[in-house]
């Protein structure tokens, strides 16, 4: 035990779920790191949840099986920190930053705290650089910009992983003029996902060579539940280092945030806190915010941190606390829909319910094309009219519909099959996306395009 410095206690009086209560301790700091050493010498990590004059409550960040009242608890006096250097790229780590790829651990010149990291709002640059994902439903109508946090809301069985991998593969910045390759890195964080999902991502990244430009932080389904609390924070600490110290452009994929929230609920219940909705703690919003807000662009740094969290909505319910609170924090959401999926449309994105709040700053004349925002706006209005006509058709039949309503029925079908639908490996440029949009908008009479300025219609409308 000579490798440990500091104080050891063998005074554990209670073990309850992932919570240990230790008596007769002195001078323990809140949130400090704890090593719990079992009689056989194996070690589990923990952190201090509550500290009192002579008592401490510790949360175990690992497997609790085999723990008993005879374990030794070692208070390190330090908070959760990880070493960082540019050697993290291409590596695979566990949720608590232990190498999983049989390579040596990272020795960084500096160690960084994992938990407390807040970007000063006055130091932020409003995100405004368009990222072309090559997916029409995103680029055309819910554009992603650098520094944004845009989650995918999905359900079990829908192809969210395929979409996330496609975005990670295809995402590029289009800069008018110079086409200089930029430092682009993917930080992938698995939170309680299944091995086969991980294998899928790994294979995708390997095939395209993206693995050499990726950092993987893995907490798989059979890894300790509590480690899920720190895994996304480890991933984001790495991402912040790459973005704001090494000035790279980082895309962070966090999947699946529902598993994270469940881990948080387990701890909250074990601490006997008063729950808010569905047993989740009242501070779920604030806690999720400390993860999602770690994205952005800051003044004076070239890099950026873009976040794409994935979460599966339990029972497809968007009002469930996890998607609901996520939607309040993130800058929009991409929603995958089972009906579209069953129709064979990929990506099955429900564009009407999806949203990118930062889209307006990333598109337009200098950035994508002058007609972009008008086209997006008009597609929304016309498609929603089409879906309304569909609802009506179910009741009165096609015969009962007016000429105009039938036109919009056709429009909605065209929109789904020509615009939204595309291949898993199809990479459309923004021009192609907008051209397809004009193909289908031109099936409507010019007068119906009420959201588009006349000069734009004149330039792009396909008069037949």
């Amino acid at each position: 035990m000579s490798e440990y410095h500091g104080l050891f206690y063998k005074t554990v009086t209670e073990i309850k779920g992932p919570i240990l209560v230790i008596d007769n301790v002195h001078g323990v700091g809140y949130n400090e790191n704890v090593n719990i050493v079992l009689p056989d010498g194996s070690k589990v990590l923990g952190s201090v949840l509550e500290t009192e004059a002579n008592k401490a409550v510790v949360q175990v960040l690992g497997d609790t099986t085999g723990l008993d009242l005879n374990v030794s608890v070692h208070f390190t006096g330090e908070t959760v920190k990880i070493p960082l250097s540019d050697e993290v790229i291409g590596r695979v780590f566990s949720g608590s930053f232990i190498p999983r790829d049989k390579k040596p651990p990272i020795f960084g010149e500096e160690e960084r705290e994992v938990f407390f990291s807040v970007i000063n709002p006055a130091a932020r640059v409003p995100p405004h650089e368009f990222i072309q994902t090559g997916v029409s439903a995103i680029d055309g109508m819910n554009s992603l910009v650098r520094g944004q946090k845009l989650p995918i809301f999905s359900e079990a069985g829908l192809p969210h992983n395929t979409l996330a991998a496609q975005i990670a593969r295809q995402a590029t910045i289009i800069k008018k003029g110079a086409e200089a390759p930029e430092d682009f890195v993917v930080v992938f964080c698995a939170i309680g996902i299944k091995k086969e999902e991980y294998d899928y991502f790994r294979a995708e990244f390997e095939e395209t060579g993206a693995l050499n430009r990726a950092v993987m932080i893995l907490n798989l389904a059979d890894d300790p539940v509590i480690e899920r609390i720190i895994a996304p924070r480890v991933a984001l600490t790495v991402a912040e280092y790459l973005a704001f110290d090494l000035e790279m452009h980082v895309l962070t994929i966090l999947t699946d945030m529902t598993n994270y929230a469940e881990a948080l609920r387990i701890i909250s219940t074990a601490r006997e806190e008063i729950p808010a909705r569905k047993g989740y703690p009242g501070y779920l919003y604030s806690d999720l915010a400390t993860i999602y807000e770690r994205a952005g662009v800051v003044i004076g740094k070239k890099g950026s941190l873009t976040q794409m969290p994935i979460l599966t909505m339990p029972g497809g319910d968007i009002t469930h606390p996890v998607p609901d609170l996520t939607g309040y924090i993130t800058e929009g959401q991409l929603i995958l829909d089972r009906d579209l999926f069953n129709k064979g449309i990929y990506p099955p994105m429900d564009v009407l319910r999806s949203l990118s709040r930062l889209m307006k700053d990333g598109i337009g004349k200098e950035k994508t094309r002058e007609d972009h925002k008008y086209v997006a706006d008009q597609l929304y209005v016309s498609y929603s009219e089409g879906t309304r006509a569909r609802g009506l058709e179910k009741i009165v039949g096609r015969e009962g519909l007016s000429e105009r309503e039938r036109r919009y029925l056709r429009f909605a079908d065209d929109f789904e099959h020509k615009f939204v639908s595309q291949g898993r490996y199809e990479n459309r440029s923004i021009e192609e996306t907008l051209d397809i949009a004009w193909d289908i908008l031109s099936t409507l009479p010019e007068d119906d395009l009420i959201r588009i300025e006349d000069s734009i219609i004149k330039k792009y409308y396909r008069y037949s």
């Binding site: 509550e50 995100p127 604030s286 807000e293 952005g296 609802g391």
Partner: protein, 621 residues
């Protein structure tokens, strides 16, 4: 036994300390070696519960706790405008400039204001005088020998080119001015001396303090008679808010709360705007902060940052500074109100503030009421909105100031019956209810015209009647059309629009024009983003005139809606081209055309074509 104040227990941001001297509820304390800020929230024997405003990582039992013996105060002086503060009034822009670190570090503190900067103090000032409905600027000069009381203005300094900052006698002081020092001073240097009735002399600086949780006093409450003009049609015309009123804007995520509040902050005709980002997104605050200095106030031509103060306590900053951010913002707003200004305060979002209260309450192990919120939630919400109002301020000269409060709430799952939203609705006069369905159709602002209300509409009758005597009638008719249309749409959903009789389809047609051409407003379109009141009136009268004409065509001439819809007019595009277009489409697009002349022109053309149609069916319009 440690006799000095020290930490006994740490649980998250709740700190229990022992032996803290002179502990009073609300006192601010410094905790531990890092001197973290906290506030005493409970006293139990020799122990106190402290709500720490910062992250407590690393804090240990036994570390010292020192009582400052002062409640949480706002520092009030010239230099507030254009600042970006956190919930404890720490200037974030300055923090970034000094540390050159984009990340906020714990325990780092900066004073709210620049104590070195010199301001030109003059014993002169102007205030708005309200004579009936008119406002006149009146100049005053202060002399040695003048009698003053709390709230009296003794001079001013030009804080920004848009705002003259009045220096007021602090609360609790009255007497005679025996010295006045015109010239350049910093905010801690005395600029006047007042002899109190008991003969003691009191020096006055430009800086004063106010405990944030206590409303600033005023002399008298006044009725609300002037609308806050926002340039947003659905608000100004249908659901107005007066200067001094309170409004709430509830909406699920993605319904456009924040964009609507930004629009209000940009365009409302208040003199000073306080924008509180309470537990909201960092990038959104960055957007406001980056764009306001470039945007111009349409009335004064000055940039918007010259009249705005931001409280940016974003969602990942500690929750407890979030709880205080609302009070910090409203105190600063009241201070400018007391100078005689019309102040507008936007709080986005009060739900996050309520959640902070819930969090504190939970940690104090209070018995929760609904959904974990504390039982005193309603009282706190009520007292926040009650700080709005139009008032006669304390002191001399007599002046009127107003504070309008607009708060967003974020109901979980978009359910308006949840405690924060349902409680808020009880204490406000205008409700702008945001609707998910409208947002999905990209109809913005997604203010649902059937669920929203304004209790003030009648109070503002006089104001609009002066602008246009027909206006109120038009507004009512338009609301009736929208309501009827909602009922007809329900039937249409079952039988199809085609199966409806033409008089009902005519109502649907007018409602459609109102929706696309009036209620819809594009915040990002250069013209449409702000619609001046005369244009609002003109647009509404045009649409309702069209409604009148088509109604008669259908009723008296049995003209079908399809015929009416097909009416085309020829218009000249800005490029000078003549083209044929649908009258309906053109009516829906006038919102994008600058000024009102075009509307007259368009209505003449439409009238001409409708006359032709009328003649064919033997009707005279």
């Amino acid at each position: 036994m440690n006799e000095e104040g020290h930490v006994y227990r740490v649980s998250g941001t709740l700190v229990i300390a022992e032996n803290v001297k002179n502990a009073k509820i609300g006192d601010v304390v410094h905790i531990g070696e890092q001197e973290l800020l906290g506030e005493i929230v409970r006293i139990i024997g020799n122990k106190v519960a402290i709500q720490c405003f910062e992250d407590t990582t690393g804090l240990r039992p036994g570390e010292p706790v020192i009582n400052t013996n002062k409640p949480l105060v706002a520092e009030l002086a010239p230099g507030l405008l254009g600042q970006i503060y956190d919930g404890l009034q720490m200037p974030e822009k300055k923090l970034f400039e000094l540390t050159e670190n984009p990340f906020v570090r714990r325990g780092y503190k900066l004073p709210p204001l620049d104590y070195d900067k010199k301001w030109e103090f003059i014993p002169e000032f102007t205030v708005k005088k309200h004579i009936n409905e008119y406002v006149k600027l009146e100049k005053y000069r202060v002399k040695v020998g003048d009698k003053v009381e709390e709230g009296s203005i003794i001079g001013s300094t030009q804080e920004t080119s848009a705002i003259e900052h009045k220096i007021m006698v602090p609360y609790g002081i009255r007497g005679k001015i025996i010295d006045l020092r015109e010239g350049k001073y910093n905010i801690k240097e005395p600029i006047a001396t007042i002899e109190l009735p008991d003969g003691t002399k009191k020096e006055i600086t430009m800086l004063q303090y106010w405990p944030v949780r206590k409303p600033r006093p005023y002399r008298e409450h006044l009725p609300l008679t002037t609308p806050l003009i926002t340039g947003q049609r659905v608000i100004d015309v249908f659901f107005p808010i007066p200067k001094g009123g309170a409004g709430a804007i509830p909406g699920g995520f993605g319904t456009g709360k924040t964009v609507t509040l930004h629009q209000l902050a940009r365009w409302c005709d208040a003199d000073v705007v306080v924008y509180i980002g309470c537990g909201e997104r960092g990038n959104e605050m960055a957007d406001v902060i980056a764009h306001f200095p470039q945007l111009k106030d349409p009335r004064t031509g000055k940039t918007l940052s010259e009249r705005s103060i931001f409280i940016a306590n974003v969602s990942n900053l500690p929750v407890f500074a979030r709880e205080s951010s609302i009070y910090m913002g409203v105190t600063i707003a009241e201070y400018y109100r007391d100078m005689g200004y019309d102040v507008a305060l936007m709080a986005d979002s009060t739900s996050r503030w309520a959640e902070a209260m819930r969090d504190i309450s939970g940690r104090l192990e209070e018995i929760p009421a609904e959904r974990g919120f504390p039982a005193y939630l309603a009282e706190r919400i009520a007292s926040f909105y009650e700080r709005s109002g139009r008032v006669v301020t304390l002191g001399h000269p007599e002046r009127i100031g107003s504070l309008t409060i607009m708060g967003a709430t974020s109901p979980p799952g978009g359910d308006f019956s949840e405690p924060v939203t349902s409680t808020t609705v009880r204490f406000i006069g205008t409700l702008w209810a945001l609707d998910k369905e409208l947002a999905f159709q990209r109809h913005f602002p997604a203010i649902n015209w059937l669920m929203s209300f304004s209790k003030y509409a009648e109070l503002l009758e006089k104001y609009w009647a002066r602008k246009d005597p027909k206006f109120l009638k038009l507004r009512e008719e338009a609301l009736t059309v929208l309501e009827e249309a909602a009922k007809i749409e329900e039937i249409a959903r079952i039988v199809g629009e085609k199966a409806l009789p033409d008089d009902q389809r005519q109502i649907l047609l007018t409602a459609e024009i109102l929706r696309h051409g009036f209620l819809y407003q594009n915040a990002f379109h250069k013209v449409d983003t702000y619609c001046e009141p005369p244009k609002q009136i003109k647009m509404l009268s045009a649409i309702m005139q069209y409604h009148e004409w088509t109604k008669r065509l259908v009723k008296e001439g049995n003209v079908t809606i399809d015929e009416i819809r097909d009416v085309r007019i020829s218009v000249t595009t800005p490029e000078g081209e003549v083209k044929q277009t649908l009258a309906v489409t053109e009516l829906e697009k006038v919102r994008m055309v600058k000024g009102t002349d075009y509307i007259d022109e368009l209505m003449d053309k439409i009238k001409e074509k409708l006359d032709e149609l009328a003649e064919k069916h033997g009707v005279i319009l």
